[in-house]
């Protein structure tokens, strides 16, 4: 340890503290930047062992990212403003549908709005990437460990092509007091909507005719113009623990004219209709409820309730709006009141988020230290959930920055004092010789 070392240490202190003040000024400047992550200077000793002198400890400042979550600011209500609660980053690219996976970066800034082409872009000009849903309403197999399957999220797709119905289940109650009377009344008729492969809405009619036998009904299934597919007699349990549920399906009769067809599985209570509406007919399975189960048709005393129909497929329609759920699925709302998933916004996780390098436009770039990204849907495994209509604020705490500022300023002056003191001491030393 010597005077010259002391000078050197003082200089290192000045340098380190000026780095620290740089971080603080960054933080205060970006206190209101959405999705900003504060940095701070971590002071580290560095001893010079070259001179074989012990006890020399210079200081060095490393800038470290603070990845703790920012607080929320309630946005002005734009439905495409997104905030992540929990871990994870949005994957964005500078140009829409960038084919080069190396150009994708991460961000927490979710102030997305559609641009002229309907692509969602944030205030910094980065386009949001997601996985597109197929026409069948599923994502299919997407590569979760690379960005190759990502496309830019676009909300301008103005026509949903629709998809064909393959499954339908119906539920409802038949009034038990109507069956088993000497002259049963008219049938109870309801119809249910299904969708052709061209996305056209059509209807299947269900006509429940009470019979003069108690708890026995004749079901006739026909198309919208009244052409029958077939009939089946449905007997309901009138006692026991399953009273009210279907007991037995019998007398299956097909009245369909080829190429239309009708089949019925008495064990599961499912009718299979072959609908003649194209070169290759559409096949729809209609579940009425298995014998002994209460998930389909029931027969209790009371009113006839209109059928509660669950049907897959969708009609074609025009897009009127979008909705985003907590799992990052963007649903298109169409004018036929159907909701179709358009995109899934995956969140990216890296092994070491602190190792990411902050870059232009609130983004973070991958570094060797950060590790590679792993995509997963929001709300699954360790990733956070997405809230629409909300923005995440920066994680800068002004009070903390100001107190740091005081501390750093004092440290800087102290280091400067060391230098002037050492300078004076050296001056004393040089004045020893006249």
């Amino acid at each position: 340890m010597s005077i010259s070392n002391a000078m050197q240490t003082g200089v290192s202190g000045l340098l380190a503290n000026s780095t620290a003040i740089g971080s603080i000024s960054d933080n205060i400047a970006n206190a209101n930047t959405h999705g900003y992550r504060r940095t701070f200077a971590q002071m580290v000793t560095s001893s010079s062992e070259d001179f074989n002198v012990t006890g020399t400890n210079n200081v060095h400042a490393f800038t470290v990212l603070d990845m703790s979550e920012g607080s929320r600011a309630i946005s002005s209500g734009s439905a495409t403003d997104l905030a992540i609660t929990g871990e994870g980053f949005f994957v964005v690219s500078r140009i829409p549908n960038d084919p080069n996976v190396a150009n994708y970066v991460l961000t927490r800034a979710g102030s997305f709005l559609p641009d002229a082409n309907g692509d969602l872009v944030n205030a910094a000009g980065y386009y949001l990437a997601g996985h597109a849903y197929g026409a069948d309403g599923t994502l299919g197999s997407v590569d979760q460990s690379s960005f190759t399957d990502l496309t830019t999220v676009n909300v301008s797709a103005n026509l949903s092509p629709g998809s064909a119905t393959s499954d339908m289940t119906i539920g409802g109650n038949l009034p038990s007091q109507e069956a088993g009377v000497a002259t049963p009344g008219d049938p109870f008729t309801s119809s249910a909507e299904f969708y052709s492969p061209l996305g056209q809405a059509d209807r299947i009619q269900f006509s429940w005719q009470p019979t003069s036998t108690a708890s026995s009904w004749d079901l006739t299934i026909s198309d919208s113009s009244g052409n029958g597919y077939g009939t089946v007699t449905v007997g309901f349990n009138d006692s026991g623990p399953n009273a009210g549920s279907p007991a037995v399906y019998s007398n299956v009769t097909s009245t369909a004219v080829a190429p239309a067809a009708f089949a019925f599985d008495v064990a599961t209570g499912a009718a299979t209709l072959t609908i003649d509406n194209g070169a290759s007919p559409q096949v729809v399975t209609v579940g009425l409820g298995a014998p002994g189960a209460f998930d389909g048709m029931t027969q209790f005393a009371g009113d006839y309730t209109s059928l509660d129909v669950t049907v897959n497929g969708s009609a074609s329609g025009n897009l009127v709006g979008t909705e985003i759920d907590g799992n990052g699925n963007i649903f298109g709302v169409f004018d036929n009141s159907s909701r179709v998933p358009l995109f899934s916004i995956p969140l990216a996780n890296v092994a070491n988020p602190v190792g990411l390098a902050p870059s232009n436009g609130n983004t973070f770039e991958f570094t060797r230290a950060s590790g590679t990204a792993q995509l997963s849907a929001a709300g699954t495994s360790s990733t956070g959930t997405i809230t629409a209509g909300v923005l995440e604020s920066s994680n800068v705490e002004i009070a903390q920055e100001l107190t740091d500022l005081i501390r750093v300023q004092r440290a800087y002056s102290s280091n400067a004092k060391i230098i002037t003191t050492v300078d004076e001491m050296l001056d004393e030393t040089t004045r020893l010789k006249r």
Binding site: A31, S68, E69, G70, S71, R72, A73, I74, T85, P175, T183, P184, G185, D186, P187, F188, T189, S190, S191, A192, E193, A201, R203, G226, D303, Y304, T305, S306, D308, V309, V320, G321, E323, V333, F334, D335, N336, S337, R339, T387, V390, S393, N395, V396, E397, I398, A399, Q400, L402, T403, L405, I406, Q409
Partner: protein, 470 residues
């Protein structure tokens, strides 16, 4: 996290209070709006601090709404019956009034009584003629009033069916619009208000079952279970004016018909009840009474030849069973006794078929005519007044019975009206705006706003202290 987060939190508190005050102001502004369901704000605490507004909800009680619609349909049916019969009921008058059917009939009876004592008195003969003409014309008037009621009921059915279809179309399209507004927004609440009023209007026309599916659609079927609205599709109600039946697609829903899955209450059901049962029954009673009059005086008149019309005629002709329908509208006094139509007034004493004037003191025929009133006549039991009765009894029974239909409907309307009012007031207090509550809430909002603002002020002071020490 600290002061910065505290800033964000209290600003979220401020904006929630502002939003809340907006809703409260809207509630107060709509306090007198019948179809308005009061709005509430749903908020949740955000995971990382602050308060999050998740939506606007309508405060409704669905069981009260269901009860209200059911009672409303019942009342509307009785109200329709009472209102439509009002005019006819005035026409019938009270059993003791002079210029009503029963008054004229008793006038005729006493006229013949007097005539039998002094058969030669021309003024008494004239009196009988006047009473007979009065009876015929009041029967004609009653029959006309009934026909007018029928035509008004038929027109009412046609216009009601149009209203039902308009309503169904509107509800289906509102279903569609509401499904597109999936989040509980203020706009969605307005659309739901509109849909609820529209369904209330439909419930007044017919009793309906309303169920909500998981897309928020209101699916509607008739009380008997015939589907009217499924999501955004609606099924038009068709009225067959020839057959007098209502149907939806292939399913018949005519009210009052056995075995069909229609409806039994509501304005439309009331009109069908009038058209199908009440009015035809009343017409039958009138016609049957007219027939008894014509036939009674034909039988009591010894001077008549075969096929000759008696004192009362079917537009000048004798009674023809094939021409029974609408007889009450056509009954008239034989022109042979009316001097104004070239007849001779003495035929009242001597019989309608008499060719020469008889002795002025001969009261045989006048006494014969009196027997029409004093012996029981045969009536059609289908008219609901028994198979034999004296004319006076029949008429007073008929008038009282017919008036009773209206009075009964009015009474029931009053009873159900009380129920409707009770349920409505319960519904209003559940979903309507309570000004006291809203004003109380306003104070709460004021406090919450002030508290949040105070937090902010303190935060600013804290930062200022820090800045002063840098």
């Amino acid at each position: 996290m600290g002061i910065s987060s505290a800033f964000v939190n209290s600003s979220s508190g401020l904006s929630a209070a502002a939003r809340w005050s907006e809703l409260t102001a809207n509630n107060i502004a709509n306090a007198n709006n019948q179809g308005y369901a009061k709005r509430g704000l749903t908020t949740e605490s955000a995971a990382s601090g602050g308060v999050l507004i998740t939506g606007v909800h309508r405060e409704i009680d669905s069981s009260l709404i269901r009860m209200y619609r059911l009672e409303l349909a019942g009342m509307a049916r009785q109200e329709t019956i009472a209102t439509e019969l009002n005019n006819y009921s005035y026409q019938l008058g009270n059993p003791n009034d002079t210029f009503t059917i029963s008054g004229q009939l008793s006038g005729l009876y006493s006229g013949f009584g007097l005539l039998s004592n002094s058969p030669g008195d021309a003024s008494l003969q004239n009196n009988v003629l006047k009473s007979a003409q009065g009876l015929a014309s009041s029967l004609n008037a009653a029959s006309n009033a009934l026909a007018q009621t029928l035509s008004s009921v038929t027109k009412g059915i046609e216009s009601d069916v149009g209203t039902v279809n308009g309503s169904l179309e509107k509800i289906a399209s509102l279903n569609n619009q509401i499904a597109q507004e999936s989040n509980p927004t203020a706009r969605r609440a307005i659309l739901q208000d509109e849909r609820a009023s529209e369904i209330d209007a439909l419930a007044q026309l017919m009793n309906i079952n309303v169920s909500q599916d998981n897309n928020g659609n209101m699916n509607i079927s008739t009380g008997g279970g015939t589907q009217l609205i499924d999501g955004m599709s609606f099924f038009e109600v068709q009225y067959d004016s020839v057959g007098g039946s209502l149907s939806v697609g292939n399913a018949e829903i005519t009210p009052g018909k056995d075995g069909v899955r229609g409806f039994s209450e509501g304005q439309l059901a009331g009109r069908f009840e009038l058209k199908g049962e009440v009015l035809p029954q009343m017409q039958l009673q009138l016609d049957d009474f007219a027939r008894a009059l014509i036939q009674g005086f034909e039988a009591a008149d010894a001077s008549l030849g075969a096929g000759q019309a008696g004192l009362f005629t079917d537009l000048g002709a004798n009674y023809d069973p094939l021409q029974f329908n609408g007889l009450a509208g056509r009954i008239s006094v034989n022109a042979a006794v009316d001097p104004a139509q070239g007849g001779e007034i003495w035929r009242i004493r001597d019989g309608i078929g008499a060719t020469v004037q008889g002795s002025a003191s001969d009261s045989t025929q006048a006494i014969g005519f009196l027997t029409v009133f004093e012996t029981a006549q045969n009536f059609d039991p289908a008219a609901g007044q028994g198979d034999t009765a004296e004319l006076m009894d029949y008429v007073s029974g008929m008038v009282a019975g017919q008036k009773l239909v209206q009075v009964h409907a009015q009474e029931k309307q009053g009873q159900l009206g009380g129920k409707v009012a009770a349920v409505l007031s319960a519904r209003q207090s559940a979903q309507g705006v309570n000004l006291d509550e809203e004003l109380q809430r306003l104070t709460q909002i004021e406090q919450s706003y002030a508290a949040n603002a105070q937090v902010m002020q303190s935060l600013i002071a804290m930062i200022d202290t820090l800045l002063a020490s840098v």
